[in-house]
Symmetry: C2
Subunit: 92 residues, 2 copies
């Protein structure tokens, strides 16, 4: 849970996910163009998102297509919902 939140804890990675969520085509180069960061940096963020399982990459030729992993995506959605919808017994 903390790991997933951590992966979301960087503006570039949020931006990547938002981009991927509305894009049908999701080639690496496009993401690099979208962000004000060097290719190596973007790739590093993609790698981190991949390590956590949030996205997956499919290589076809010289291009790689990055996509949100719907299954993990939904699991995370539930996990967060679960945390935030706890009944809070506040005292102050």
């Amino acid at each position: 849970m903390a790991k997933l939140a951590k992966a979301l804890g960087h503006p570039a990675r949020i931006a990547i996910l938002e981009y991927l969520s509305k894009q049908v085509e999701c080639v690496c180069g496009d993401i690099v163009d979208e962000l004000p960061l060097a290719q190596a940096t973007v790739l590093q963020h993609l790698k981190e998102l991949k390590e956590v399982g949030l996205i997956k990459g499919e290589i076809s030729g010289t291009k790689t297509c990055y996509c949100i992993d719907m299954q993990v995506w939904q699991e995370i959605q539930w996990m967060f919902a679960d945390l935030f919808t706890k009944t809070i017994k506040n005292c102050c």
Copy 2:
């Protein structure tokens, strides 16, 4: 958004929030006892959660009562829900 996710991106901070969510009494010392970390470390995590607005602390005497800020809590809940319930147009 990234800032909030970042604040959630550490197991100790998740543990603190989960503890606070089910505790009515939420004195600093109790949280320290709950976690396998030194007092200074726990306090640092509390400070980070506070900076982001997730929790608030009310001093009364020598004790301080920490609580989840319900308003921010709910805003975050929506923010995350908003991100995760986007319609994804996947390609791979």
